[in-house]
Structure formats: structure tokens, C-alpha cells
Amino acid sequence: MGEFIAGPSFSGRSAALMERLKVLAPAFFVGPYAEGALSGLSSTVADEIAIYRAPARVHTEFAPLDFAAFAARKPPTLSGGEQVLLALHCFSLSDYGVIGIDTALEQLDPANRDRALAYLSQGDFTAALIDNRLDRPPGWSTQECSGGPAFACDLAAATRDLKPRAAPAIAIENLSFNYPGGRDIFRNASVSLEPAQTYRLIGPNGAGKTTLFKLLAGVLAPASGTIALNGARYAPWREGNRIFALAAQNPDHQWCGATLGEDVARRRRALARYDEITVPGQATLAALAALLGVGSLDQHLYELPLVARKRLSWLWPLSGALPWIMLDEPTIGQDRTMRAALAGAISRLAALGHGVVFITHDDEFAATIAHRALRVADGTVT
């Protein structure tokens, strides 16, 4: 049977889930983000499955991907969605009678998400679920959580004082890229991105959405092709990134320090090298961080709750310092209120002249923002 734990962020849902699972223990647990999905005891996908496989089949198998083909792959090299699917596959091969999932399904693309929910709803085991995009799933019992002190986050106030600005147009021409030993991700892909516009990248897992972000930010270098800003050649893989403010899918993949103060200071120093960037002052950023829920620059980033870290990851995008914003799955772990507020903030940034590109599997969220869809598939961007 299905037990759904509902409530706004910081209402104690994760704690309630853990309490429930302790009562029902042993239970299979899939934590938030990819890193919470797998056991941490395996160096290959085959080993991960071997650890959980029970001698006799107890559940129907859940295998939306061909895991046999992945057998020798290392688990951290799978995408976030693939790791969550692998975890569910391992559960289906195990003899656990209970599974608890803390927002992990939010990372799945729509097709796999539906498959996963259908599997969990079937009823021959207990499934306890937290998911910000569901509202009392039919056939599931619901436990409501409420209240509790929140890391109050006011996105409207955060974007209120932003000034209009110009952002360069981005022209990508004949971009080709492939990972060493892998297939082509991009083959002579060309696309233009206009400022004051919002774009959504859509496409199946592994198509290259995050790869495109990395190419634009200079993390990866293309095999061939050019990127131009207002017609001028731009090669961030050589010159460094001074155009894009990136909010990573997992907020822990973007900090540059142990405390917020360290992170802010290092980034400010780095951006001060570029004349064309007006670096926000330390006090401004501290005030912005307070509006995002973190009151002190001395706050140790990794001691914050995960949901609060995710909100803080919007700091530089919302600061207005950089002309283009890239948001990778910005709504993971955020409740309905926050998703609506984020949609408003994105629209405001675009209205002020920023260019915004975001990736999300949440069609409902995307529908609330005026945007152009860019399909990333088969080596091209259309």
C-alpha cells in the first residue's frame, strides 16, 4: 500500500518519513538526489545489484532501463535519474517489504516518473513517499505535516531591487562534442539564444542538456564549432566564465567554500578580474542570502538542510551580476509555493534583460513561465 507524506517545506516530512521507516524497518531507502539513492558499497552497477539481490524473487521486477548493459559502469557516472532508477531496480530484486523515497522521483523524466509511480502504487509492498509535485495520490493514505520554523525565503523581495541590464546574444555555430570514448553528444549543432528571453531545454536523459550548460560555462571544450557573444568570439574553456550564473542540479556541486562567506568572497574576487562585470558588494550579497533563508555569512554551507542549500544555490543567478542565468532542475525539493515564487523570479529576470535557460522535468512548472522550448536530441538543438 502507499503512504504519502504531504506538507510544505520544513514541515518535518523527512523526519516523519524516517520515523515511519524505523517502525517498519528494515526498509529500502532512497534519499534526495542521486547520491542518496545508492548503497555506497559498490564500485560497479553489477555489484550494486548483487548486494541487494535476494535469492528468491519477492516483487515484480522494475527494469525501465537495460541494466545488464550498464553492468561494468561505475555508479557515480550514471546520471541522477539513472541512479534513482537503479535504486528502484535493486529494490524490486530485493526482499525488503517496505520502501521509503524522499523526493527522489522528482529527478525522473515524465515517462520514467509515471512508470515508477505505477510500480509503487501496485500494492504488494509498502511504499512511503515524499514528493513535492504530487497532491494526495489516489489510492494512497496521506499523512499531513505542518508548521515548524522555516528558512523563510522571499524571492519577490530578492528580485525587487534588480536593475534592467543588457545581455549579449549568444550564437552557437556548428558545435560538435563527444565525451572521450563515447558517442557524439553534439554534431554541428547551431542555435541562437536571444537576451531577455527564457529558454527551456528538453530532451531525454543523456541527450546533452547538462553538457550544453557545461560547454557554455567553459567546463568542457567543444571538438569544433564556435560560440559568439554579440558577434564576438567567446571561448570560456580558455578565457574562463564571465557570462553565466549557474545553479547546479545538486546544490552541493556548486559551492566554492566551506562557509557562505568563503564562497562569496572567492567568487567576488574571481569576478573582479573582469571590467565589464559590476560585482555586487559583500553586504548586498549577505542581504540577498538572508532573503533566501540564510542569515549569516559564517553559516557552514553543508550544515544547512538540503532544501535550504538548494534555495541558496539561486544566490548568484538572482544577484543580477551576470547577464545569463542557467538553472539545472531548480525546483527539485521545493514545494508548490516556492515553485510559483521561482517562476515569478525567472520571469522578472527575463523582463529585466537577462537571458535565462533552464532544465526541468516539471512540465507544470515550465508552463507557468513564458519560454521557448529547445529540444536537445540526436546531436542537435532545435
Binding site: A258, D298, H300, Y302, E303
Partner: protein, 204 residues
Amino acid sequence: MFTTPRLVAIALCAALNFAIGNVVYLVKLPIYLDSIGTILCALLIFPDRIAAICCAFIAGLIGVILSGLVINPFLPWFTFSVLAIALVSALLTARATDTFRAQPLVPLPFFGKVILYGVITGIVSAVVSAPVVVYLFGGVTGSGSAFLVAFFLKTGEQLLNAAVLAGLTTEPIDKTLQVLVAALLYRATPREFIAMLRPAQPAT
């Protein structure tokens, strides 16, 4: 002694030794930086001294065995050096944990202790490593200290003495750098992780 969080700490520090040591080895810098995890493990598990020695040593040992398989097959021969570093780290360097974690960072005591304990670690490591350097490598390990060995040999020193003297010149610098990195990593480690490493409380 070996609670689950401590096993995790050992494995993390062993993996850290492996990762950092191999990068540095491949870049062919005249330093090793392959014991940062060993020192860090001792800092994390302090003040339980016996556990700190054991866990730090095991972390170092696993690190050199795995590095030996993949990158540098001569590392496992320095097991006694690993033990020596674990002992110094748990018994001496770990006394500075409060200084290392003090907010804000007070430069004089912090760097003073880093240098003091780094030099001691380096001296001990040089003395313990010298016999292995001599009998396995003939005194020349491929790092810059080889020229120092040559210098001392030229002046008529016996090989073992030359290796010790050369080691005493380079190891304190390398180990001070390692104590510095370990101290800074210890400083940045979330409180929750350090709290997990306390000895298991007896069930009441």
C-alpha cells in the same frame, strides 16, 4: 572501536590518500602529499587516542596498498613510515584540533602548530623511511632529494646516512604541507561528521 562511522572515516581518508597521492605522483612534483588522509583521520577521531592511531594507520595502509596496485608499486614498502606518521599524528598533531577548528582562524597559533607538527612528522618519516629508500631504491627514489643523496655521498657519507640526511632536508617541507592541508580540511569538516566519530555509547 570500529563503529560504522569510523569505518567510513577510515575508508574516506584512505580514498583521499589514494586520490591526492596519485594526482601528485602523476604530475611528478617533488613532493608526495600521500598521507593527508592518514593525518586527517587521526585529527577526526581524536581524542580517542588508541582508536585514532589504529584508524589512521589502517587508512594509510589501505591507501598505499591500493596505490601500489594502480600507480606506484613501491609505496607498500613504506608501511612503517605510514605507522610512524599515524603515531605522530594521533599523539602529537591531534593535540592542536581545538586550534585548527577555532573560529575565526588565529594565524599565529594555527600556522605555528602546523609547522611544528609538520616538521616533527617529517623528521620521523625521514628516519623511518631511509632504510627502505636505501635497500629498495639504492638511495634514489626519483624525487629531487636524490641529488641531495648524491651530494652527501660525494662528501663521503655512507649510503644510509646520506639517505637520512637527504630525507631530513625534504620530508619536513612535504609533511608540513600535508599537515596544513589536513588541518584545513579538518577545519572545514561539518560538525555532524566529527560528532558521529565519538566512541559508541554503551546502551543504557
